[in-house]
Subunit: 155 residues, 2 copies
């Protein structure tokens, strides 16, 4: 697969046609369910739960790189991420949490949160989409409800 | 490869025998060269430059997860990371910077910084150690010097 062509990428960088801006506030979109809107981050549970607990925190504002954020935005965004990580830690008791900011497909700043356990191979490159594992609607609802309770936000 | 056994992992989590605590301040260690000591982060250029510019920022204090940091540490750590990312962005003009906190081998908080270009495949899981590319000593020195200049820190 190729990177998006330079012209299209430059438009995306500017937020023109940004799919994350478009659908990050929907209760459900193609990829995920909304869990909460925090100070700087919108928290979403991925539909693909091949890696259990897989969650993404999107920055409210369309920004590409960490160094484009104000000091306050940067601090609050990572406080939001840390808060979600704490919830995933309590829910899944992992060996390690991963905090991964890529943006290869869409340069709107977002952080993937993944939890690992002793059963995982620590030397394998992380690929949360290596397989697709979809849950039943009530299972997603239970996870989202559990996260909201621990985040102390309402439905 | 297996995850470290629970007992060994628990000790590492506590900082007992932590290799990052041991060697993150050395001018040169097995994996990297020191670039700078910032407020919360020690910046090191990886010897393996298979991914050009590959840099790691280690937290000064031994901490496993983002939610264990104080608000000030968290804010300053990410300011340090953002500052290094800005330097790599200026040096390499990438399509996207990656900011990756794993810790599968050592749970001392550190962030891998990688730059991507149009030539990369955005759908391939990132593996900065897929190959080993070592440079000549003067090439490392040049990159480190260039980074220090842009970070406005002295040798």
């Amino acid at each position: 697969m190729k990177w998006k062509p330079p012209r299209e990428w430059e438009q995306l960088r500017q937020g023109i046609g940004c799919p994350i801006c478009e659908d990050m506030r929907l209760e459900e979109n193609r990829f995920s369910f909304k869990v909460a809107e925090l100070r700087q981050g919108i928290v979403r549970l991925a539909k693909n739960q091949y890696m259990r607990g897989y969650t993404v925190v999107m920055l409210r504002r369309h920004v590409n790189e960490l160094f484009e954020l104000s000091a306050q935005e940067l601090a609050e965004f990572w406080q939001d991420v840390a808060r979600v990580a704490r919830v995933l830690y309590d829910l899944y008791q992992p060996t390690k949490v991963n905090y991964l900011v890529f943006g290869h497909h869409c340069p709107h700043l977002h952080c993937h949160l993944l939890v690992h356990s002793y059963e995982d191979d620590p030397s394998t490159p992380v690929d949360m989409n290596a397989e697709t594992v979809l849950l039943a609607p009530e299972q997603y609802r239970d996870i989202v409800a559990g996260m909201r309770r621990r985040l102390q936000v309402s439905d």
